[in-house]
Subunit: 282 residues, 2 copies
């Protein structure tokens, strides 16, 4: 299929976290149309296997292509870490000339470029840490930079659940940040798109001397470059539209999404992807 500049940019995530990436796209490229898919029925992705994440990424990308996407942003660290290469091969083999942009490389580049001490921390879901994707990206950028990785199994579910900010949440965040404080990192990669939503809490726990890095602005730059290279930037001058899809309850996605994105989510519709064949881990 031939792509045209009038087609939408598609963004997907396991839930509402990817809206932090969509936000940066709306700031940088306001004249584009956007289609966002939150795979809320299968949230969280953070404890899925690499194979599951690859399967999910292909299913969702097929759906987004059928909806006319001209570019796909994998706005989920776990899916980017596990499935970006697989997804690129799958698309090439099926004759789709379409750019797929993940979140690991942009965040890593910002962190490595910004760190003064060469000691960087990573807060991410267990799947993202287990994939080793950030470890490889940091090594490739600068072999002398130390990456201290902390898997945070509970943080994305707490945020997706509307984060109550009670004593339990504060203790959980403190526990996740403790190894980073001990390692004396000066930069921390927020390796899950949900985490920028609790940046104030993380900044307070890590202190003034630590710079938090998320992938949003870097992803927006990559998308802009990719669209420009293929003459696919939307030529209109007024604001584009935005539509949302989710795989579970529409009402709760709308409530949480409106709060996170700070704008009304008018069109949210339910889509049915493949049934969840997830096995309970033993």
């Amino acid at each position: 299929m031939r792509r045209s500049s009038e087609q939408p940019v598609a963004v997907f995530d396991s839930g509402v976290g990817g809206l932090t990436v969509l936000h940066e796209l709306l700031v940088s490229l306001p004249t584009e149309d956007y289609l966002y898919l939150g795979d809320t029925a299968r949230f969280p992705y953070g404890d899925r296997t690499q194979e599951e994440l690859q399967q999910f990424a292909i299913e969702i990308t097929d759906h987004l292509l059928a909806e006319g996407a001209k570019l796909v942003v994998v706005a989920c660290n776990a899916a980017s870490s596990a499935a970006l290469g697989t997804l690129e091969r799958y698309l090439a083999e099926n004759g789709h000339q379409i750019d797929v942009i993940g979140v690991v490389a942009p965040a890593t580049q910002l962190a490595v470029a910004g760190s003064r001490t060469g000691r960087i921390g990573l807060l991410a879901t267990p799947a993202t840490v287990a994939s080793g994707a950030y470890e490889r990206a940091v090594r490739a950028a600068d072999a002398h930079v130390h990456l201290e990785s902390v898997p945070c199994p509970d943080l994305a579910p707490i945020i997706q659940g509307g984060f109550p900010f009670d004593g339990h949440v504060v203790d959980t965040v403190r526990e996740y940040c403790a190894p980073l404080r001990a390692a004396e990192v000066d930069t921390v990669i927020l390796g899950c798109t949900h985490y920028p939503l609790v940046a104030p809490m993380l900044q307070r726990t890590l202190g003034r001397g630590v710079t938090l890095v998320s992938s949003g602005t870097g992803v927006a730059r990559s998308v802009e470059r990719a669209l420009a290279a293929h003459h696919l930037l939307n030529p209109r001058t007024d604001e584009g539209s935005y539509r949302f899809r989710c795989t579970a309850d529409v009402a709760s996605f709308k409530t949480l999404g409106t709060r996170f994105l700070q704008m009304p989510l008018d069109e949210v519709t339910h889509v049915e992807l493949a049934p969840d064949v997830r096995k309970v881990a033993v």
Copy 2:
């Protein structure tokens, strides 16, 4: 009264907006104790007269001194603009050797230092714009910088009310930002402590090329310098405590404050200040 390093740092605002300033203090100076007062019964300050704001500032500061404050942060742009000089004179005349730190100077310095084009915007409440405090501060910093000021009567009440992010709110924000877009400013001062809470919405409306500046980090630096100069930094190494006072409903302050500050507000108590003698504007 002699001040000691063990006394709390006091912060006051008309509502929950000043919590954005308290947040920056907690990041920079975590070992201090804090006492925050939100004058929610008389919110909003944005359409008060200069005389009313001076009276309120003196009343509240008297209360905070009685509670043992070693330094007072006026974390409200309207009160800082109208009452900082009056407050300093009142304290000096009454023999209180205590630093009072406002929010206008720190934000102005950051904006003037950061602007490349010398065209700066100001979003603030009507009282703050009418006071001319930012106009004077910008002129003093650099006579060749142009300041485009926009009074935003509805924005702080929308945020204090829990900002629903519906179409009306988006239209309101768009209307306030229109003169700044027309003036082609490259930097916008968020001249009300409530506004950082809707920074994503403002950034989207103003676009990537505009830098948003708020006073929080600058205020934290000023407080640190003032305490250090008088040997009043708390010498403890563990985290300090924080307590909250408000002049209206405790439960709604607690709910909104927890959400804004991203941490539990355990101790919130009601205080009664002077009765509100506000006259209805005609």
